[in-house]
């Protein structure tokens, strides 16, 4: 599908927020402490709000009359443009998995991913708030406030768990090893002149902040990976299909339904 570069740029970001929110919402009711249940739901809600604004705008730019729900629920897997990082299950180590949330929940993996994505979103929204596109700039400015809180909250947890007990450090290390190769995709998308920056522009800052966070957490960085995740081009992991089967179920099963 030949897609306008702006629409594609938006979808990469919108879908990343959407799918990240979807995975986070699987925690609802299952977190280690009640306060964290509320915090994770809150982050999921913010990301969902960002996804809605971005999808709605992407639909307008696309000009095919698709609203946020048609984009969120009625595309084929290959048309979702999120980074693979956010579609990975909340716990690692199963090839086939679950869209419903029971596939295990690893708070170490979740926390690390939250921090990685929040730092990245903060850097991206900082730049996008001065986008030449006023609508996108507006969404970014509003979202920036939210992701700053996410970054702070999840970074605090990364430090707590990295520099907590031996057991927690071991879990964080294992989770970091799983996620590390997928971080490569945070810097993979091309920019659109006057609209949004190439993600590669974020890389130096992101890596510096991540290194600082890891140092504070007493976690060593894994060696660099050459893996090239292809989510932003619609080539996902095998987890995505399960996630979508769950997420899309009602829209697919009740065509023409009004909810």
């Amino acid at each position: 599908m030949a897609m306008d570069v702006k629409t594609q740029y938006l979808l990469r970001l919108a879908d990343t927020c959407l799918i990240h929110s979807q995975r986070l919402s699987e925690w609802c009711g299952h977190a280690p402490v009640l306060e964290e249940d509320l915090a994770l739901s809150n982050i999921a809600l913010d990301l969902l709000g960002q996804a809605r604004a971005l999808l709605t705008y992407a639909g307008q730019l696309e000009g095919a009359g698709r609203d946020e729900d048609q984009l969120a629920f009625l595309r084929e897997e290959r048309d979702y443009r999120n980074i693979i990082l956010v579609e990975l299950p909340n716990a690692a180590a199963s090839s086939s998995d679950d869209g419903g949330g029971g596939g295990g929940r690893d708070f170490a993996l979740t926390t690390l991913r939250n921090a990685a994505v929040a730092i990245w979103l903060e850097l991206l929204y900082e730049r996008l708030q001065t986008s030449g596109d006023a609508e996108l700039a507006g969404i970014a400015a509003k979202s920036l406030k939210e992701v700053r809180y996410h970054r702070q909250h999840s970074s605090d947890w990364v430090v707590r768990l990295g520099d907590g007990t031996d057991a927690s450090r071991a879990r964080m290390r294992a989770a970091l090893a799983v996620l590390w190769p997928y971080f490569n995709e945070l810097f993979a998308a091309q920019g659109v002149e006057g609209f949004g920056p190439a993600w590669s522009e974020l890389e130096a800052d992101w890596r510096a902040r991540w290194a600082t966070l890891m140092a504070e957490s007493t976690l060593a960085l894994p060696r660099d990976s050459a893996m090239q995740p292809g989510g932003i081009d619609g080539v996902h992991s095998e987890h995505m299909g399960h996630l979508l089967a769950t997420m899309q179920h009602l829209q697919r099963a009740y065509p023409g339904g009004v909810w």
């Binding site: 979807q22 708070f107 430090v159 927690s168």
Partner: protein, 311 residues
Amino acid sequence: LAREAAFEARIDAGDFIEAKDWMPDHYRKTLVRQISQHAHSEIVGMLPEGNWITRAPTLKRKAILLAKVQDEGGHGLYLYAAAETLGTSRDEMTAALLSGKAKYSSIFNYPALTWADIGVIGWLVDGAAIMNQVPLCRCSYAPYARAMIRVCREESFHQRQGYESLLTMMTKGTAQQKAMVQDAVNRWWWPSLMMFGPADKDSPNSEQSIRWGIKRVTNDQLRQKFVDATIPQAEILGVTVPDPDLKWNEVRQSYDFGVIDWAEFWRVVGGEGPCNRERLAARNKAWDDGAWVRDAALAHARKQASKQDAA
């Protein structure tokens, strides 16, 4: 005994009791039991609805449901805090829930099977909960009364959202969606009526609680009030309730309704409902899986504290 008489006099005068005030042991225990049960109900109640967040049919409904379940967690937090003012800790209360010693509302031992259940839970279950809880906003124990004011305000909002979502399906939806709503009403109607507890004649704690101003209205009175308020709403919605004996009684200016299946009620209360075991297992799993996180947070806090001491 003088203190007890003074306490009773304050209650009779409609005074509110604060945490620092003296209170009889039995009053304290009754409140801890009731408030912690209520808190547990909010927490367990997150499960059947939380189970649908990943499948919500539109992004708007997903956001509404996520926010609602989050609110329930928030209610749990205030209520645990209110119970803590009575000298019990959240950890103690949690342990009682996880071991099966403490109860929570039996309604959450029924499964949420379709999306329409989410709307019906909002309409009927939250509706019944509010009916139970509004009188508690005038409960003689002030911290509980204050928590309940906030809880009731948010629950009313949830109830309206639930009803509105059903109305959307019933007025704009497909025939399949309408059937889905009716089916959900059929499954939730009787369990909702059971939420008011046993019939007054079988309710051992009610009398003392009413005298102390912990409880203000009887189970059967509340149940009747709920039926009377709900049936007109069902009519607007275009659904029926699964009760062949339901009939408007001109004399009482109230609905007569059929007999509750008390065998089912006691079976579910007794642990043999469709989801009792799973709810408790899910809570235990979340707690057990989270142990390392809580341990690490504690260890880290100690490290920070000792660094500050050293500085």
